[in-house]
Symmetry: C2
Subunit: 321 residues, 2 copies
């Protein structure tokens, strides 16, 4: 039996331990997983790959790689307002080393347990380190959040404190206390599942912030056939970000940095009170930072003066691609 | 806009062309796909990764890589008796080159159209060439084929002519006519979806042959709590295989070669006539090659004499791991 077959068995037994879901008819061990989607619900499916050297630096903690592989996909489900249910893992790694695998699995399973997600399939292969994770969830029929439902006048919100992760990645080798907090935000992003569920029936549109707040707010606005303006004075900077990088770099990180995995969403003004009532039970911070309008493109405004304008769309702000 | 964002758009428009399925509520372009599982059906999910240099040789035709990425996953669905419905693609490649991408997409979409599968999500990333494909399908509740349903006395069958693909891979540089046919069997395997559907309600157990017939028959037998014997004289060798490699190597390839993506399944003797009646409408060849018994492990028999015995299980026969 080869080392990779041993690893498969290792994940299989770990998966069996945590698959307390009654909707897994058949998990790891057959040709495919067999799953029950509850009546009246639609299936939500996301697939994202993390490649070493591109999505995380070489030498990243294995627990972080396991955590992030699941987190970035859960974040996509959160943006749809979906309840996560199952995941499948395709892990490619140069060699099978027990310490790496145990740490990877600990990061992955800590997060999957937190959200009640069962690992139901996948495989392990020799090759350059990369992780493809498939996450499946469900949503009541017709209630999924989309990017395209916004309208002029809808208020623009963001969760958490965007910019932290981008700064944390840049400061990954720093020993400063403030940098440590930012590093954790890059290494262990928290998918906003709970917030996504609360936003069903409230938000008119939603997207997860993976490429930077300005770019992703621009994508939401474009999908909704609107323009968007963001008021700089409202941006929620973390104390750690301001301490570690200063105000100018913090603005750049918050608008154009990636890897936040926060939710950016819009709410019609008449549902603002309903939103605030529901947020009382949600742990993560949510801030109104702007508004959709009838133009197109993105305007970043400071005290009523346009700081940056990109009428072509969001491409200009994207730090990726 | 970066080159990889251009590629995403390319796949997005290609996917839009062929997504004629009414059950795709939301395809590529939002945070996740939104899909309708018909009432009374269970979801079937498979995820497999192909890594260059491991699952296909460097320099393989791009059309073959696109075809195989989908085919190996469709084969998993076939082994469950599932109707394929949707797929998500995670493509990692060193650089974005139009000729490679067009050929990759042509191979992928030719097969997806053949089986009515809609590409509903995924992403493209820079990195060492690998392809993770997620395929989703459905099956009437309770009717999925499994590895574990076989019983002593059940007849063992295999589809097609196993061994061709392994020989084709070995002879990939050969110019002989027989080798060409074998090469095609490696480069463009045909997932046995139609056969899988016919086997619902007939086969007691089923597995797809990806690691070699003996290893995978052994896995089916082990999952069913049985032993299995395979009669060499019944093995269906292709003329091309015998021509290209001779009888001894053909036997080795058929039993221990991988990448066949045929179905290996068992049928209780009392359903043999029903199987044969149904097979009249299925194009691919199916051959009875052995039987499950009350022992455990695998016996390969020639004219009543055991040629190879592995009572420990299937590991001995596996060419992989």
């Amino acid at each position: 039996m080869g080392e990779f077959e041993l690893i498969d068995r290792y994940f299989r037994s770990a998966a069996a331990d945590m698959a307390g879901r009654g909707d897994v008819v058949l998990g790891i061990g057959d040709d495919a997983a067999l799953l029950e989607v509850p009546p009246g619900r639609q299936l939500v499916a996301a697939l994202d790959t993390l490649v070493e050297g591109r999505h995380f630096p070489r030498g990243s903690p294995a627990a972080s790689i396991g955590h992030r592989a699941l987190a970035v996909n859960l974040s996509d489900l959160a943006a749809m307002g979906a309840d996560p249910a199952w995941c499948l893992l395709a892990l490619t790694l140069p060699q099978a080393e027990a310490p790496f695998l145990e740490a990877f699995a600990s990061g992955l399973f800590a997060l999957s347990r937190q959200h009640g997600v069962a690992l139901v399939g996948g495989d392990t292969t020799a090759g350059p380190l990369s992780v493809s994770m498939q996450v499946l969830g469900t949503v009541p029929a017709g209630e999924a959040l989309r990017r395209s439902g916004g309208a002029p006048g809808d208020l623009l919100y963001v969760s958490g404190t965007p910019g932290d992760a981008a700064a944390g990645l840049r400061l990954l080798d720093s020993q400063h206390a403030a940098a440590h907090q930012l590093q954790q935000r890059f290494l262990y992003p928290e998918p906003r599942i709970e917030l996504g569920l609360v936003l069903r029936g409230i938000a008119s549109a939603c997207i997860d912030v993976s490429d930077g707040l300005a770019a992703d707010a621009g994508r939401l606005a474009a999908a909704s056939g609107c323009g968007v303006s963001i008021e700089v004075s409202r941006l929620p900077f973390s104390g750690a970000l301001l301490d570690a990088v200063g105000a100018a770099a913090a603005l750049q990180d918050a608008l154009c940095g990636g890897d936040d995995y926060e939710l950016c969403f819009t709410v019609p003004p008449q549902r603002k009170a309903a939103l605030e009532a529901r947020l009382a039970n949600v742990k993560c911070r949510v801030t109104c930072i702007g508004i959709l309008d009838e133009s197109h493109g993105i305007r970043v405004i400071r005290d009523g003066v346009a700081l940056l304008v990109d009428t072509r769309g969001y491409e200009h702000f994207s730090g990726k691609g």
